[in-house]
Each structure stands twice: as structure tokens, then as C-alpha cells.
Symmetry: C2
Subunit: 291 residues, 2 copies
């Protein structure tokens, strides 16, 4: 496995792989790789001839009061983890290599970027869309793997790649969870033992929302939101940010739930801000099961 | 020569050319091709193995009260002109082919986009940067040729391609002029005979500004602006928009002129809004020649 730290070197390596007839799988990350990233790499390795993992903590996607400086980093560990999960290349540029001059260009995805995380973290998705557009431009024709844990990010990246006709197939992959249900995240490293113990409450709140839709037959988004919020608010260590149910395509809030929907929650827990989401199906057969 | 109207077809054609070892020159245009475009195509043909001309009147870069509907179009003429000047492909997609779903993604280049045309035409350069980013993503690795007549557009595109690491060398080419000095432009078609007769006044104003810098030794931007404006305002058919002298790199206005600068003018003449620009050198040796 090869570690590359220049834009030109990474582009050249992937161009040569494609010229030799090999397909490229790209796994863009901010490093501190965990089993969730490992599952993306293994999926990429199963579907592509070579796998390139990018490790870059992108300053553009952090707000002024967010955790850019404290975001966990471990390049040696990341390289070992990438090698162990089938990666061919790790691209780990410095910030100066990625942004050698002031970054004047920004990429923005309207509508999909605006609710939820976009509302809670102004400018965050502009930073994501910009760095991913740049990584896609460097990497060239490939399949790119993103986790569903960052569901809205996946929607933003997918729309950006389609709108700009970038030669990249964006693949969403299921969230990987700890045995107690907590979604894997580099930011879980911020949790104290006490916080870690109650962290699965987020997943439990999502489950309560899903049961309300699929078993009780609830079709009012406000009732589902309230049910999820009450589970999170019952644990005083959490500070709830949002609990929402949206259309999985454009992330808009339907007036009445119908078909496949996405439940999403965000909450602060100690130093960490955690997010999670699951799907649910508002099947016509279960409508009004309780009525 | 081959005319292509699908994104997938255009990408595939250029991918195949590169796979066969041939270099690609790209000439993005809005059609109604004139001798200025012809010079771009000939330059591309001299430097690249295949030349692809794109013809697309991009709605994103027109303001609500601008000339999108009346913008001159002549695809048959464009195809003939492209063939006569060494083009291998003409890519002429419909708006529905370029934007099959609502275009939620926009590309913005800060600073360079803001003064001059950016101030006069809000959103114009966002539309330009977005469509050019998309055309570059479709075309892939290439050299792309733009005229210096749209000097700020060239600066915006160059910065966008660099910031996003697109695999495109952006080449600026000299403005092509009519014998009387008028810069070639598709929008010259809007001029009546009387307006056409006075249109070279724009180039004359730029020349007056340059002489003031290079011969008189003027170093005060305000004096140069005033000199250019007075030439244009002396012709009552013109409605002056701006007459400016800026740093050619970032288009900022220097306090004192030094080294290479760019003079730019914009004015309305009948139905047309015309722009033009030239370079000038504020050489240390001529400073204060008149003082």
C-alpha cells in the first residue's frame, strides 16, 4: 500500500491504474478510521480493482466554534487500518497542499443542504460539497463510497456529483454500529464513560419513531418527532438539536407520511455532537393500525 | 466532424480520444461563432490532437432582465464554422440535457467574481463558473481556450479550475477585433448601423487610458478612469456602466498603478451591452514622464 501526500501524485497514480484497465474505488474520510470506514473500504475492495482512501480533516466544513482543532487524528493508525482492509492508496495531503492559495471557490447544493445539519451548522455542507468536488476532480472516474450515518451529506454529495456531471458513482453504505446500537463515529472518542453508556439512546429514539410509524400506523410527522424527542430528552445528559422525519430524496418534511421516510436525530452529549438516522416505511397497509 | 448532443456521448467520445493517446482542446462557447471563436479553435487545433467546441446558451448566467431569449443562435452556421476551423466535435446539448433536474448545485468564485461584471450582473459569474465546472467535468483532461475579451470570465474560470484541481489547463487568447477596433462579440449583432459606426469608441477609450499610463506616466487610477469615461461619455449613444483599471491577477483596484494593469470598460449601446479591455504597463521608467 502506498501513502501519497500530493495532489499531482494522487491524480497520476489513479490515472495510471485506469490506463492499465483497473477500476477505482474512492473512500473519502477525515481519518481516525473505525469499523464504519473499514466496511466502506471492504465494499470498495469487493467492487473495484483498486481502493484509494483519502484522509483529510477539511477546515472548510468546520464552523468557527466547532472542533477543527480537537478533531481526533491518527495517520499511522489510519494507514494500518486502510492496509488491513484492502486499500491500495492512502491520500493524506496537508491543508497547504489542498488549499495552496486562499480557497475562493465554493460549491453549494441548494435545498438538500438547507434543513437539519445545514440549519444547525451554517456553511458546513458548502465545505463538504467543495472538498468532495475537489477530491472527485483529482481522483477522476471512480465509484465513491460514503456511509449512511451522514445521511444528509450523502444526499448532498450525490446531488452535487449528478448536477456537475462528475464521472463518479456515489454509493451509500449502511451505518455500522457498536453492539449496543451506537453508530460508529470518530467523534465517539470525545465521550466519557458515563456519556458513552447513555449514547445508544439516540438509536433507541429512532427505533421508537420507526415503531410508531410501522406498528402503530402514525402518519403525522409531528407525532413522530415528539416521540423521538421525548426519548432523548428523558436522558438529561443530552441536549437535543433536532428529531425529524423527512423524504429520503430531497429531505423535505412531508405533511403526511407515506412510503419510505428517513428519521434523523442530532444531539449534544458532553463535548460531542452526535447524529444518527434510520429508514422507516409508512406502508399503506399499516396506516391507522391503531385507529 | 461529429455533432453530439448528449452528455454521455460527449464524455465517451473524448475518453476514447484520450485512450487512443490523443490530447483534447476544448473551446466552450455560447454559439453564434465569429472570428474570435475561430481564432480559439485554430489555436486549439495547433496545440491539441482533437478540438471539441461546445455550443450552449447557458440560462444560469443570464439575469432575469437580460437577453437569454433573444441571444443570437445559429447552430448550422456554428457547425460549418467549427468544421472550417479544425474542430473534431461540436457538443450542442439542449438545456434539458444539461439540466435534467432543477440545478441545485452552484459554483461560486469569491473576490474575482465580485467587481466589474459581477457588480453589474449579479449571479452572472456563478452561472458561468457552474456551467464551466460541469463542462470541464464532462470533457475530462484537456486544455480549454477562452478569449481575453471576457477578461474577468477568464480570471474566474482560471481560479475555479485551480481551486477545484480540475484536470484542465485554462488558456487565455488575445481578443480578435474588427478592422476599426471593435472587439468581436456575438452581441454586436444587436447593433444598428448607426450604433455599429460609433461602437469602436470603446476601444478608443481604452487606448486613451493606456496612453495616459504609458506615455503621460499617470499613476492615479481615478485619473485613468476619468479619461476613459470622458471618451465614452462624449458619444451620447453610449450609457457608460464602468471604466476601470485593475490588477490583472485578482481584479482589485490598486491605490497607485504599478507594473502590468488591465483597463476594462462596459457600456450599453442601443440593445447591446458591450465590454472590452486591454492591458497597459505602468513601467517605472515612464512614471511621472509629464511631471
Amino acid at each position: 500500500m502506498q501513502v501519497i501526500d500530493t495532489v499531482a501524485g494522487f491524480r497520476k497514480a489513479l490515472d495510471q491504474e485506469r490506463a492499465a484497465g483497473r477500476s477505482v474505488g474512492l473512500v473519502p474520510t477525515m481519518g481516525f478510521l473505525h469499523d464504519g470506514h473499514a466496511s466502506l473500504m471492504r465494499r470498495a475492495a469487493a467492487e473495484c480493482d483498486v481502493v484509494a482512501v483519502t484522509v483529510f480533516v477539511n477546515p472548510l466544513q468546520f464552523g468557527a466554534n466547532e472542533d477543527l482543532d480537537s478533531y481526533p487524528r491518527d495517520l499511522d493508525g489510519d494507514v494500518a487500518r486502510a492496509a488491513a482492509n484492502g486499500a491500495t492508496y492512502v491520500f493524506a495531503p496537508t491543508t497547504a497542499e489542498m488549499y495552496p492559495t486562499p480557497m475562493l471557490t465554493s460549491v453549494r447544493v441548494g435545498a438538500v443542504s438547507e434543513p437539519l445539519e445545514g440549519h444547525a451548522r451554517p456553511g458546513h455542507f458548502d465545505g463538504v460539497a467543495t472538498v468532495v468536488a475537489k477530491l472527485f476532480a483529482i481522483a477522476g472516474t471512480c465509484r465513491a463510497y460514503f456511509g449512511e450515518k451522514d445521511f444528509q451529506q450523502l444526499a448532498v454529495v450525490r446531488r452535487m456529483a449528478a448536477d456537475l456531471s462528475l464521472p463518479v458513482d456515489v454509493i451509500g453504505c449502511p451505518t455500522v454500529r457498536e453492539p449496543d446500537g451506537l453508530a460508529m463515529s470518530s467523534r465517539n472518542a470525545y465521550l466519557t464513560a458515563e456519556e458513552r453508556a447513555v449514547a445508544p439512546t439516540l438509536r433507541q429514539a429512532l427505533g421508537a419513531g420507526r415503531r410508531l410509524i410501522e406498528e402503530t400506523g402514525e402518519r403525522d410527522p409531528a407525532a413522530v418527532r415528539a416521540a423521538m424527542a421525548s426519548v432523548i430528552n428523558a436522558e438529561p445528559r443530552f441536549e437535543l438539536d433536532y428529531a425529524e422525519v423527512v423524504d429520503p430524496g430531497d429531505l423535505s418534511t412531508p405533511a403526511v407520511l407515506a412510503g419510505e421516510v428517513r428519521l434523523l436525530v442530532a444531539a449534544r452529549l458532553g463535548r460531542a455532537r452526535l447524529i444518527d438516522n434510520i429508514s422507516a416505511t409508512a406502508d399503506p397497509d399499516t396506516t391507522g393500525a391503531s385507529r
